[in-house]
């Protein structure tokens, strides 16, 4: 192990890590919101709209992110859509995550007993309010873990942004690897940084879970 490599490439790696975190957080939050919107739309719409949503979910979820990004970034200019790497990266990241999030939310909706929603309707709560006060807090019980899972997965999918030259972590470690012909050190850096992100995410997920399952713990 050559420690001076870390000194030499340290600033680049840290900058890459910063870009990774930026893309990850914006992408996750954006995907989460878009996914939630899609799931709500699905819940409240008529058949034909549902088919369109289904198609969207299947298409985006069913194809690799790398290829989507490639097509958007390198194919886009032919259709007059010229994006910078970071724009393309974040946009496609949000779109890519949304169907997964939407499916998780959809499963969450189904997990809340029908009777409780009926009770809410009976007292005249609006659908939006039922969503916010009755469904959301309870559906977080089963879906916090899958949401955490997917946000963790997204943290690693940021690596794919390197194909459109977003200077994120993998991009920087690959420079280090190519220039110096090392591999242990770059992998160590990658693992450590991703692990950091994963630890923080799981911790947060655990906190949310503890919060939303409070009422289930019988004293």
């Amino acid at each position: 192990m050559e420690l001076d490599l870390f000194v030499r490439y340290g600033p680049d790696l840290l900058r890459g890590f910063g870009v990774t975190i930026l893309c990850w957080i914006v992408g996750s939050v954006g995907g989460l919101l878009l996914g939630f919107a899609i799931a709500c739309l699905y819940r409240w719409s008529i058949r034909p709209v549902r088919w369109i949503i289904d198609l969207y979910v299947e298409l985006i979820r069913g194809t690799p992110f790398m290829i989507q990004l490639f097509i958007l970034y390198y194919g886009g200019p032919y259709l007059g859509l010229v994006l910078t790497p970071v724009q393309a990266g974040i946009l496609s990241f949000i779109v890519y995550g949304s169907p997964y999030f939407a499916e998780i939310f959809r499963s969450g909706f189904n997990a809340v007993p029908k009777g409780q929603i009926e009770a809410a309707r009976c007292v005249g709560l609006s659908e939006a309010r039922i969503m916010r006060r009755i469904i959301l807090p309870q559906m977080l019980v089963p879906i916090t873990a899958p949401l955490t899972n997917f946000i963790i997965i997204l943290s690693k999918e940021t690596a794919i942004l390197s194909v459109v030259t977003v200077p994120e972590l993998l991009y920087e470690t690959q420079t280090m690897a190519a220039e110096t012909f090392t591999y242990i050190e770059p992998f160590l850096v990658l693992s450590l940084f991703y692990w950091l992100m994963v630890i923080v995410t799981s911790w947060l997920g655990g906190r949310v879970e503890a919060r939303v399952t409070r009422h289930l713990k019988r004293t």
Binding site: V57, E58, L59, R61, G62, T63, P64, F65, M66, I67, Q68, F70, I71, Y74, G75, Y78, Y100, E103, I104, R106, S107, N110, A111, K114, Q138, V141, P142, I143, T144, A145, P146, T148, N149, F150, I152, I153, K156, A159, F187, L190, S191, Y194, W195, V198, I199, S202, E209, T213, L216, R218
Partner: protein
């Protein structure tokens, strides 16, 4: 832009041949993911402290370390401890074991939403915990978590592309290779995306069907 369907037509057989590896790794990986995921989830919730901490560590490790690194470890480091796996076995094991960590968490989340009374009813009848899991908890957890599980399986199909690092010519790898020769990435990638889409679409529709069938009431 000249989009050449000939390039796709010409290379499709090679892409399809590569997709067989993708399919093999995915299907075998899924089996491992689900079986191991259930066991891990049970261990994670077990009152046995050693088991529970092992499961926690496992999940933290396999979710924490990039799969790329895991695969390299499986293939290149295990030989140092005298365990030389064939490439395909390493690829299947690594993807399956990594995915199991995610599956376990999905199931754990779903289990929390099953009313406690159901387990109590089983306890009161003297139903052994194995049967409780097998017959009462797991089927319901799978039903509740099905969309998330399908998510995970689809991710597994796609992540099987990393198997190229142990030398398996799966779909993504072969499409990259063809691109390197034809200089026609858009065509080749669209074709590859199409194949992934077909595999995942089948998986996803299967999930929806199962969801309908398992729906109660």
């Amino acid at each position: 832009m000249d989009f050449s369907f000939d390039v796709i037509a010409h290379n499709l057989p090679y892409l399809l041949a590569a997709a067989r590896w993708t399919l093999l790794i995915s299907v075998a990986g899924m089996a491992i993911s689900i079986v191991l995921g259930v066991l891990l989830c049970a261990a994670r919730l077990s009152s046995n402290l050693a088991l529970a901490s092992f499961a926690r560590f496992y999940i933290s490790f396999f979710r924490g370390v990039p799969l790329l690194v895991q695969l390299l470890m499986f293939f290149y480091m295990l030989p140092y401890v005298g365990l030389d796996l064939p490439a395909i076995a390493a690829a299947i094991l690594a993807t399956g074991m990594c995915s199991a960590a995610y599956t376990a968490e999905i199931l754990r989340g779903a289990l929390q939403a099953i009313p406690k009374g159901q387990a109590e009813a089983a306890e009161a009848l003297g139903i052994p915990s194995l049967a409780l899991w097998r017959r009462i908890l797991v089927p319901q957890a799978i039903r509740l978590g099905l969309p998330s599980l399908v998510n995970e399986l689809i991710l597994l199909v796609k992540v099987s592309s990393l198997a190229s690092v142990v030398g398996i010519a799966e779909l993504t790898r072969v499409s990259q290779n063809i691109t390197g020769e034809t200089y026609r990435p858009l065509e080749i990638y669209v074709a590859a995306a199409g194949i992934y889409f077909v595999i995942n679409f089948v998986l996803s529709r299967f999930g929806r069907m199962a969801e309908k069938r398992l729906q109660i009431g």
